[in-house]
Symmetry: C2
Subunit: 226 residues, 2 copies
Amino acid sequence: MPKLSRSKQDYLKALYALGPEGEAVVTSRLALRLAVSPPSVTHMLGQLAAQRLVTHAPRAGARLTAKGRREAVEMVRRHRILETFLVRVLGFDWSEVHDDAEILEHHISDRVLEAIDRLMGHPAEDPHGHPIPDRRGRVRRRDLEPLSSLRRGARATVREIRDADGPRMARWKQTGLVPGAQVRVREVRALDDVFEIEVGGKRVVTGSEGLEGLMVESAKGGPRGQ
Amino acid sequence: MPKLSRSKQDYLKALYALGPEGEAVVTSRLALRLAVSPPSVTHMLGQLAAQRLVTHAPRAGARLTAKGRREAVEMVRRHRILETFLVRVLGFDWSEVHDDAEILEHHISDRVLEAIDRLMGHPAEDPHGHPIPDRRGRVRRRDLEPLSSLRRGARATVREIRDADGPRMARWKQTGLVPGAQVRVREVRALDDVFEIEVGGKRVVTGSEGLEGLMVESAKGGPRGQ
DNA sequence: CGCCAGGTTTAGTCTAGTCTAAGTATTCAT
DNA sequence: ATGAATACTTAGACTAGACTAAACCTGGCG
C-alpha cells in the first residue's frame, strides 16, 4: 500500500468534511473547497476510486469508502493534535494555528505525532472544541447546532468553533465567544438580520453572518429557564 | 522571490556540506550524496544558477554564492533546532532524530521554528554537539579533528557526532562516546587497524572505521601540541 | 601524438497534479 | 417537449523533478 500523496490526503479530508458518513459529494463542491478546477477533481476522483478510497459514479458525485474514511479521520486526528500542540505547548493563539497544522499534518511521522500526543496527556479536544479522534479512528459525536439557529431567549453553551479564518476567530475570542462560554439570545430580528446575544453578562450585537461556524449545545429545560 | 522547493533546499544543503566556503563541488559527488542521477544534478544546477544561488561552469563543478550559502545555513539552523526539540522536548534519543528533522525542516514555518527555539531558550548546540547558526546565519566555528587522527597517548574531548546512521550512533552513546566525553588514546596500531581508547575509565577497542565521524577537541598541553 | 575511459552534458521520456477548452449530460422553464 | 442554463467529463497541454540513453569533452597512458 503506497502512502498517499499530500494532494490525495487533502481530497479525502475535504470529502470527509462535506460528507462524513459517506454521503455523496458533487464535483463542484469539492473543487470549490479545494480551490481547484472541476476537471482536476474528476481526474483525482478517478485515481482515488482506483485505490478503493472512494466510489465515484459519473455525475452522481463521490463518496468515501470505509477505507477512505479511515484515512480521512486519521488526517483529522493529526490536524487536531497539532493545533492543540501549537496552542498548549508553543503558546500560539487558537485563532492562528490552522494553517501551520494544515501543512504539518501531512509531514509529521507517526512517532512524532504520538510523542506530541503523549506529551500533552492525550487531549480529548482541540483548542476549537473539536473532539480528537482516538488512535483507532473513533470520534466522539455530539449533538450541536449553529448558534445562529437559536431562538430568542434560548440559552446554550458554545462547544465548537468551525472556521479557519483567523481574524474572525480572534474577534470571537475577544468578545468571549470561546468553547465553554454560556450564551443567551436576547433578540433575533430576521428582517434586518440582527442577532443580539449575551455572553458572560456582556451584550453583543451582530448579523447572523458574523456567527457562521459557532456551534452550541442547547441548555436543557428550554428557552424560559431561570 | 519564490520560496525554494524542497528539492532545491536539499541541493543547497548538500552543496554546503561538501563545500561550506564556496569550494567547487563536482556533479558526481552531488549525485552520489543526493542519491540522484548525474543528469538530474546538471539540470538542477542550471536552475539554481539561474536563481543566482550557485555558479556553475560546465565540467568545473558548482559553488554556492553568498545568497545560496545563506539559504543553506538557514536549512542547517532549522535542522539542528528541530533535532534539539525532538530530543529535549519530545524525549527521543539523539541517535534517532535525524530523519524526522530532515523532513520537518522543509515544512515548518518560521514562526513555529522560532517558537520552538524560544521554548528551548535558544540553544547553542544540537544534541550531536553541532553549533546552531543564529538567526542572522552566523555559525560559531570550532577547530575540531577526527578522533581517529589522534596519536597514542593523546587526550581530547568529544565535541561532535557527524553521522546520520542511527544504530551506529546508538552504539557510541552506549559506550559513552557522547558530546562532552573525555577520551584518551591508549593504543594505535595502523597495521591491523586497531584503535584502543579510554572513555570515562572504560577501555574501548575498535577499528578506525568504527570511529568515522566522531570529532574531538584536543586537550591543551597534550602530546599533540601546536 | 593519438586514443580510450571516465565523468559530464544533452536529449528525450515519465509521473503526479494541475490547468483550459471543448464536448456531453441533466435539469428546469417555458 | 424542447431549448437554455448548468454541471460534469473528456481531451490535451503544462510544470517540476526525476530517469535512461547517447553524445561529448578531457586527461592519462601507451
